[in-house]
Subunit: 247 residues, 2 copies
DNA sequence: CACAGGAATATGTATAGACATATTGATACC
DNA sequence: GGTATCAATATGTCTATACATATTCCTGTG
């Protein structure tokens, strides 16, 4: 698989309005190193004479750059180029069903286990919650053109997501259902490598001892745990791609 | 007027300014699901009467939400809550030396090979460049508290980064040096899993056949290749963490 | 010299008004 | 029915102005 990412925010070819030109001009100077980190950008009133516009227009360009974290504005002191965010990238992990069908391959889904139960100690540890409550535990397998693509092992906190009780996870994969029904605010991914044990190897139709890529994802809404998922992909044929595109 | 009284109460609440209050209010409705994806949020002139402010103020709040990709604004049609985003996260891969020292562990670095040479076919393929030129090829090992942490295999395009010729990679790891001297605009990470071959296992002091996490990173500045690096981490002990924080 | 306090200044927020521009929806025409 | 046209409308950009606020700089005082 190739989880390719495009931050096409800047690809939108819109009309070059004045404030956008100013923004791009400053962005260019920062990214080419002409204005290195820490450099003080000309004051707003200098920029307004340079570009021949009002201060509000300059300010709008600077505000967007500040929101994008390229610059830092300090009252009385001025505006400064921030240290670039080195080595960070936007990693996008799309819904598996959507990803496979987008590639023009046939998506296959098999529910292996789906149990609704009171949370046991292991469940609570995985979800990071203290008090007892109900959970849904799901195991399933995704495939593309009949070939196993990933196996998924998921816990959903039923108290945080009561609507999940009405979903039919025999038909719709839980990730897809959650994506369309439950808004979230925070997610943490933990990516690691393992070798397939016999059970995993059988489920993914690979050799025992073959490498696998593992993604553990924990999802919250406003500090409330929603779901925890453990995904295992065959590791040699599958790659996660994260791409950062600036300017 | 009663309107200005209302606004004063609004501002007295804490510190947030009016446009920020508006932004947070709309954000809350979206994240709680009160305004689901696709929902048309009130027109700007409705919002300005609701909040008792000018259209510019409302527009500023909406502009920031649009920049953060929470809403979509369409001329004549109105403003709409965007469909749920794909799961996306900021993947941060810090400088290895800084990462280890930040954990309070002692950082160790060993340069294994460092060669300056004309690019051969394999080098050009890896860097994705056509014309011949000079490169630096570096192999090194990072360790934490004396335990191997990662092995690194890097190519630097000397034509794109001539300053690299003056760096002493026997002392400073190339990643750290590049981080502090070379601005970049694009990077692509490819993450996969492998099993350690004998050579890798020996370098990382793990068993042959143990899982490893591999990161291949390609870095550009304005479409110009700067460097390509191949990093291998022991896969069971090391985890990459990517975290998304929505506002 | 240390320090309190005030003046200077750059950004931050907000206003009303003006015109531009894209898109929708209705209307008229073939 | 299909299509060209046009007016209505919501967002997009920009101006000039005003005052708020945080910070720095300077100055007077002990």
């Amino acid at each position: 698989m190739s989880l390719s990412v495009d931050r096409d925010k800047f690809q939108a070819a819109d009309k070059p309005t004045l404030y956008k030109q100013i923004r791009l001009d400053i962005e260019r100077r920062i990214l080419t190193g002409e204005w290195p980190p820490g450099h003080r950008i000309p004051f707003e009133h200098e920029l307004m004479t340079r570009y021949g516009c009002s201060r509000m227009t300059v300010s709008k360009a600077l505000s967007e750059l500040a929101q994008a974290d390229l610059i830092e504005r300090r009252r009385r002191a001025g505006t400064f180029v921030r240290r670039p965010k080195f080595l960070s990238a936007v990693l996008t992990i799309p819904d598996i069903r959507a990803e496979i069908t987008a590639l023009g391959r046939s998506y296959g889904y098999q529910l292996i286990r789906c149990a609704r139960r009171a949370a046991n100690d292991a469940d609570r540890a995985r979800l990071g919650v203290r008090k007892t409550g109900k959970v849904i535990a799901i195991s399933c397998r995704h495939s593309a053109d009949g070939v196993p693509f990933a196996i998924e092992d998921r816990l959903i906190d039923l108290d945080a997501v009561p609507e999940a009780a009405t979903a039919d996870f025999a038909i719709e994969p839980p990730g897809t259902w959650l994506l369309h029904h439950v808004p979230w605010t925070e997610a943490e991914h933990s990516i690691s490598a393992i070798v397939a044990d016999d059970q995993t190897a059988a489920a993914l139709d690979i050799a025992s001892g073959a490498p696998c890529l593992v993604i553990d994802r924990h999802t919250w809404r406003s500090a409330r745990t929603l779901t925890a998922v453990h995904l295992v992909y065959p590791g040699e044929s599958h790659k996660l791609v994260a791409r950062f595109k600036g300017g």
